[in-house]
């Protein structure tokens, strides 16, 4: 099978040459993916971009014949390294996997076998395909590959398990397990989703190195900005069909299809401040009509006053281990004024969430004080807090798990409408649903039957029901598709302008903060390293860590391939 490699006009071998690909499941059902053309050369990165349900993962998996049980894959032309894959038997596919194609998935914590060591996982492809024989030879190669993806102390890491590694190292280990068999083509399915921006930049660089070393890379992402820095060509999928394709520069700067235009417009950044990210009407997603947001209403009332809060977590000494103390938060002070949006950025473990929990009064600080609307808020009894509770609301990242699954939407919102008669409550619920852009016939539905965007809107409506002075938003759009994220961010901007509610907005996505926030707090290792107006801190940062964050941010403006040919 190694011979017979077909060359394209440019002389570089075509790793993948697919035309008219369609994939369906039920024998009579409509295909989920239809009419897709895909060609990947060696040393080239092709990106498949689309929202969830667009068929991008399915398309990529079909190159490994792993589209799923009962999937029917049809194509006019389906060649992998010059071989007609339509004639492949299961043995041929199995040989192909790991040696010709390697797969990198999202979240190594669940994508590597959690019960086996990193070394066992990376070495499996070598022993399975008899690429190397003997444990010593395999171990040596494992350590070499782990080093190649930039894992320090590979000898130690090879003996550890996925849960013992940090998110970034784990993801590198997953890449190592995919490239250990020296495949010509790497398929990376959302390889950096759920990673911090700095780690994301490092992981993308590891993949870019493989491309420079001559591998083909099929990168699947929902995020055009991520793809812009590494891909040579971009294919935009929507509902299983290609809506746009071309070189990265072409697609990002001169999108042919309004849908691509919409995806680009939906990316939040400094440039998008004050305009809508999503289309004006949710019912016609193809039409874009950017609207100016009305200027936010502001006054100088201090809603939240945080002074010198600190939190340490101690692990008591146990049998055969020393006591360990970690500082989650160290001497943090800031204010939030009425109608103001204060963004908090930092990577996981920086103390963002600890700070949010102290502000919410769910966690007591070891030292320092929090005052809400001028009254004491930290270190008092919960019964004393209850009176002020309605003025402080919370929007979580995962709305669904914050709902009682047996409550209907109306009941979820009504939780914050205490003391109203049933008729008044129903009227207020309808008003709130309209405010967050939901039809009022959703009131009787259960949260499970709603889409991700609808759930987050319900969660916003629930927060608004209490007429709060401040809403703490903890990564409220991080789990949403870019289009839905745009709509939710637009909604938050609207509401904040109309109602004057202050927001304390936590996000690992700098673009969201640049788009939305007035001031920004940068957290690093539990310390507030820098704070000030967004325009200053995130353009001319004083702190080296903020500079690293900014440099790691994927940006469309630099959407040209990093590796020149």
């Amino acid at each position: 099978m190694r011979a017979d490699v077909q060359d394209d006009a440019g002389g570089r071998p075509l790793l993948v040459d697919v035309q008219g690909l369609s994939i369906g499941f039920a024998p009579a059902g409509a295909p989920i993916v239809q009419g897709i053309d895909l060609a990947i050369q060696a040393g080239e990165c092709v990106a498949l971009v689309g929202e969830s349900g667009s068929g991008k993962s399915l398309t990529a998996r079909s190159l490994l014949n792993l589209a799923g049980d009962g999937a029917r894959v049809e194509a006019r032309r389906f060649r992998i390294r010059g071989q007609d894959a339509r004639a492949f038997r299961e043995v041929d596919w199995r040989w192909l996997r790991g040696t010709v194609t390697g797969l990198v998935m999202q979240d190594a914590l669940v994508s590597l076998d959690p019960l086996r060591t990193i070394g066992q996982e990376v070495g499996e492809v070598l022993s399975e395909h008899r690429i190397l024989r003997g444990r010593r030879a395999i171990d040596a190669r494992v350590i070499e590959v782990l080093g190649r993806v930039g894992i320090p102390d590979p000898e130690i890491r090879a003996r550890q398990y996925a849960h013992q590694l940090s998110g970034g190292l784990r993801q590198r280990a997953l890449i190592a397990s995919a490239i250990a068999g020296e495949p010509d083509l790497i398929i990376a399915d959302e390889p950096t989703t759920s990673l911090d921006v700095t780690v994301q930049a490092q992981v993308l660089e590891v993949l870019a190195q493989r491309v420079r070393a001559g591998a083909g890379l099929l990168l699947i992402s929902h995020d055009l900005a991520v793809v812009g820095g590494i891909a040579d060509r971009v294919i935009v999928l929507r509902d299983g069909r290609v809506v746009d394709s071309g070189t990265t520069a072409d697609v990002l700067t001169r999108p042919r299809h309004p849908y691509t235009r919409g995806l680009i417009d939906a990316i939040p950044s400094f440039a998008s401040r004050g305009r809508r990210l999503g289309p004006a009407s949710a019912r016609s997603p193809d039409r874009i009509a950017p609207l100016r947001h009305p200027p936010p209403a502001r006054d100088d009332t201090v809603v939240l006053e945080v002074r010198g809060i600190a939190k340490r977590y101690a692990r008591p000494a146990g049998f055969g281990r020393r006591a360990l103390a970690t500082t989650a938060l160290d001497d943090v002070s800031f204010d939030v004024r009425a109608g103001e949006v204060v963004g908090i950025v930092g990577e996981s473990g920086s103390g963002k969430s600890t700070c949010a929990r102290i502000v919410l009064g769910l966690l007591s600080p070891d030292s320092g004080t929090v005052r809400l609307l001028g009254e004491p808020w930290s270190r008092i009894r919960e019964t004393e807090r209850r009176r002020l509770r309605p003025r402080l609301q919370y929007i979580p990242q995962d709305a669904l798990s914050s709902f009682d699954p047996r409550y209907r939407v109306s009941e979820i919102i009504a939780e914050n409408l205490a003391g109203l008669r049933p008729a008044a409550r129903a009227a207020r619920t309808a008003e709130l649903l309209e405010q967050v852009g939901l039809r009022d016939d959703l009131a009787g539905r259960y949260p499970r039957s709603l889409s991700g965007g609808q759930r987050q809107r319900v969660s916003i409506a629930r927060a608004l029901a209490a007429e709060p002075a401040l809403i703490v938003c903890d990564e409220p759009v991080s789990a949403l598709d870019i289009g839905i994220q745009a709509q939710v961010l637009d909604l938050l901007c609207d509401l904040r302008a109309r109602l004057g509610t202050a927001l304390l907005f936590i996000s690992h996505d700098l673009g969201v903060i640049q788009h939305l926030a007035d001031r920004v707090l940068v957290f690093h290792h539990g310390r507030l390293v820098e704070h000030g107006p967004v325009g200053e801190v995130l353009t001319t940062p004083a702190d080296p860590y903020t500079r690293t964050l900014l440099a790691s941010q994927p940006r469309l403006e630099y959407g040209l391939p990093r590796h020149a040919h």
Partner: protein
Amino acid sequence: MPSPTLWSRILGRLLTSLVVAWASVTAAFLALHVLPGRIEDILAGDVDTPGLREAIAAEWGLDRSLPEQYWAFVSRIVGGDLGTSYVLRQPVREIVGSQLWPTVQLALTAGVLAVVLAVVVALLTAGRGRLSRTVASALELVLASTPVFWTGILLLMLFSFTLRWFPVSGGNGWQALVLPSIALALPTAGLLAQVLREAIEKTLDQPFVTTVRARGVAELTIRARHVLRHALLPTVTLGGWLIGGLLGGAVITEKVFGRPGLGSVTLGAVLTHDVPVVLAVVLLAAFVHVAASTLLDILYLLIDPRLRAA
């Protein structure tokens, strides 16, 4: 290589087991004293020879204070002395000791057979064609709900009376072990296979299975090397029940197949009110359970490295 944390956790678990074992000894002692009637009468059982009651009182030190008696009781059991059966005129340790091995042999053989059957059936049928799955599942349900003695009688009729392949009763040689082990193993295997298959199917949906498939690993290897280990976790939870079921089932099976063993000893002791023997069997059962659950907890730590950290 097990880490220091692993060792400290194992040691901690062993200490807890010792406490539980001590508690069961105490419970046995209390039960003896709470029972209505004089302790000499209880211990003597159905035997009534002159001077026996006095001998028992002297041996058990019944004239001493309760704490002293308790201390003597605990130290005797720690030393392995289980007392004397006045019915059989023999040390209890000898009676139980001579009958223990046939029962352990039967329970072990049946246990291994059940696990092997369940693993093979579950590995081959999980997530595969609907027909094989339905047939296997129905068969397992029937097996799991059939009492041991009924399976035993059916096996005897077919293989001993009709085909004459195996002896009808007795405890000599491996031939005598075949039918009782199968009878005892089948209900356990049925239930284990059901639990295991569901766990395997759940694991097959995990993202890491896709990663392993993308390495070109063969389907059966994926199941044996990756999936089975995950599926074992919920199955180990059943382990305590399984060991209890095997020991309890062994007693009935011994009766059906006329095998020697703890079953016949216990039954005899209960019928003749031979309390020292009953007490010893109760304590033995408690110790076996403690040992089994300790072993299973340690097994968890060995299977799942994530449990070792916390």
